[in-house]
Amino acid sequence: MSVLQMREALRRAMNEEMRRDERVFLMGEEVAEYNGAYKVSEGMLKEFGARRVIDTPIAENGFFGLGVGAAMAGIRPIVEVMTWNFSLVAYDQVINNAAKIVQMTAGQYRCPIVFRGPTGAAENLGSQHSQSLESIYAHFPGLKVVSVSTPRDAVGLLKASIRDDNPVVFMESELMYGLKGEVPDEEFIIPLGVADLKRAGDDVLLVTWNKSVQTCLAAAETLAAEGISAAVLDLRTIRPLDEEALYQHAARIGRVVVVQEGFPFAGVGAEIVARVQEAVFDSLDAPVVRVTNRDVNQPYATNLEKLVLPGPDRVVETVRNLLRR
């Protein structure tokens, strides 16, 4: 075991895959000479050279699309986006090209590409820089969507994403790049589509991913002190969704809260609520509820920002209310 920061874990996954497979390369803004806006790709230019670690101009629509074309032609891009907010200028390339190529060409072409970068709010970044965009990618068949919460998961899931022959949207967090965690030293892969129980519990199931896993673990601590036992299920992959694990835990525990950053309306949480009640309605003791961002664009001021984001207090409060029912 070694203790790695999230950024080191992501780097390890990319390094291992680039050593293993000459077709894999990294491209994005500031990834090479600057060593990455968040230092994820530190040292990679030195090891792999400018042919495989490529600095791009600020032209996401261009380099996302070039990535798709390159993947169709048989090389395997990892495209870093500085934050997912900026992917919106390139959304067309992901949705209308990457997600559809396999099906439109009846499998004649593949699109083995990973788009990766941070999602969600950091601190005081305002309206345009604080969005969680999982749901607008998970909406589309043909894309896989991964959203990681620990360094160990980051290594295993990024390696799986790079080896996948489908386009993968891989989400990190600006606030988690310095997060430390234990990672096995030997090589390992975590398959996409497998959720992970980050904390066992019996009274309520908290379903979550990415940074909100921390929120839920903190809430579970507080609840434990009150004698409430909360389980925390980290989905890790939003598409494909680990429905088996989700329904099994939901049915066993009977009370489910989905905790996500991002807006409630048509969010990933809404999808989970719908599916859980369709699948295990008879085993539920209460409605499945959500804790999300407030339904408002992110304000800049610190006091308002705190009101908007789903912190541990709101999770605790929601669970208490749910158990009172």
């Binding site: 032209a59 005081n124 800049y300 610190t302 006091n303 308002l304």
Partner: protein, 325 residues
């Protein structure tokens, strides 16, 4: 085309004051950031003051200005008070956008500033759109859109140019070419480094100029404004300038040498203007008094921001939609 009137010593003293206020406000903002009173992203304009002040002087009051996130100097030059800018940086209710916008989003309808925008290049069509409205209503107003050398690679920028030229919109597009987009020098991000040449592909009138001296900026923008206002169509300019600080507070700026920064500091807008004043017979004491006045205005803005209240929690949803329609 006639040359604009040469600014006299009184005008120059006012410009020096305006530029010195911008610089002092930003220096104090930097200090407040280090004390964590200002948070999030803070992109300082220091070094580029001549562009904001010289441009403002060449515009009419009701012309529209649009810019990116490096926007404090432009807001100040356009007449937004140091108090309103500083309070916005502090996230207070007395800020120009009531603490909802923050550093990157300084809009003021009173001053016809559509704002600062955080998605690189995404704001350029807005400037063209304002010009469309002016043309539509038969007004003699124009828009001026600032953008960076890095933004000159974005699709939205190219498309805005194409439309503006096709429809002969009364718009000016000014690239604040400060030679870097984060850690990427303009030579590494673009084959052509004179960004006015982006206009060639659509047939737009264009030129490049050195933008260290506010008088030179004023002359060039006045010329472009006259062209755009006459109905002859848009103009694109490359204003060569330089930022002294890192891209934002988190950037140590290791990608350029101290010698390079020192070289550009010889063309400092405040120095050049002071030299002009001395040459016109204005005393050093008078110049010092102007700088002291700027310091007093900036210092007072900090006390004002510090003492201002946070936005009220109950106002959180007030501006999601326009009500009553």
């Amino acid at each position: 085309m006639e040359s604009p009137p040469v600014p006299g010593p009184d005008t120059l003293q006012r410009w020096l004051l305006d530029m010195a206020v911008i610089r002092r406000v930003e220096e104090l903002a930097q200090g407040a950031y280090q004390q964590r009173k200002i948070r999030g992203f803070l992109h300082l304009y220091i070094g580029q003051e001549a562009v904001a002040v010289g441009s403002h002087a060449a515009l009419r009051k009701d012309d529209v200005v649009v810019t990116a996130y490096r926007d404090h100097g432009i807001a100040l030059a356009r007449g937004v008070s140091a108090r309103a800018v500083m309070a916005e940086l502090y996230g207070r209710s007395t800020g120009v956008c009531k603490g909802l916008g923050g550093s990157m989003h300084m809009a003021s309808a009173e001053h016809h500033i559509y704002g600062g925008y955080g998605i690189v290049g995404g704001h350029v069509p807005l400037g063209a759109g304002a010009a469309l409205a002016f043309q539509y209503r038969g007004e003699s107003r124009i828009s001026l859109t600032f953008f960076g050398d890095g933004a000159s690679n974005q699709g939205a920028f190219f498309e805005a140019l194409a439309l503006a030229q096709l429809w002969k919109l009364p718009a000016i597009f000014v690239c604040e070419n400060n030679r870097y987009a984060m850690g990427t020098s303009v030579e590494r991000s673009s084959y052509l480094t004179d960004m006015s040449r982006r206009g060639d592909g659509v047939g737009m009138v264009r030129w490049q100029f050195e933008a260290y001296d506010p008088v030179v900026v004023y002359e060039n923008i006045a010329k472009a404004a006259e062209h755009a206002r006459s109905g002859a169509g848009p103009v694109i300019l490359d204003a060569q300038c330089y930022r002294y600080r890192g891209h934002s507070m988190s950037d140590p700026g290791k990608y350029r040498s101290a010698e390079e920064v020192a070289e550009y500091r010889k063309r400092d807008p405040l120095l050049l203007t002071a030299d002009r004043l001395l040459a016109a017979g204005v005393s050093q004491e008078r110049i010092d008094a102007i700088l002291a006045e700027a310091d007093a205005i900036a210092t007072e803005s900090v006390s004002f921001a510090d003492a201002s209240p946070e936005p009220e929690a109950r106002e959180l949803y007030d501006h999601t939609y326009v009500e009553g329609t």
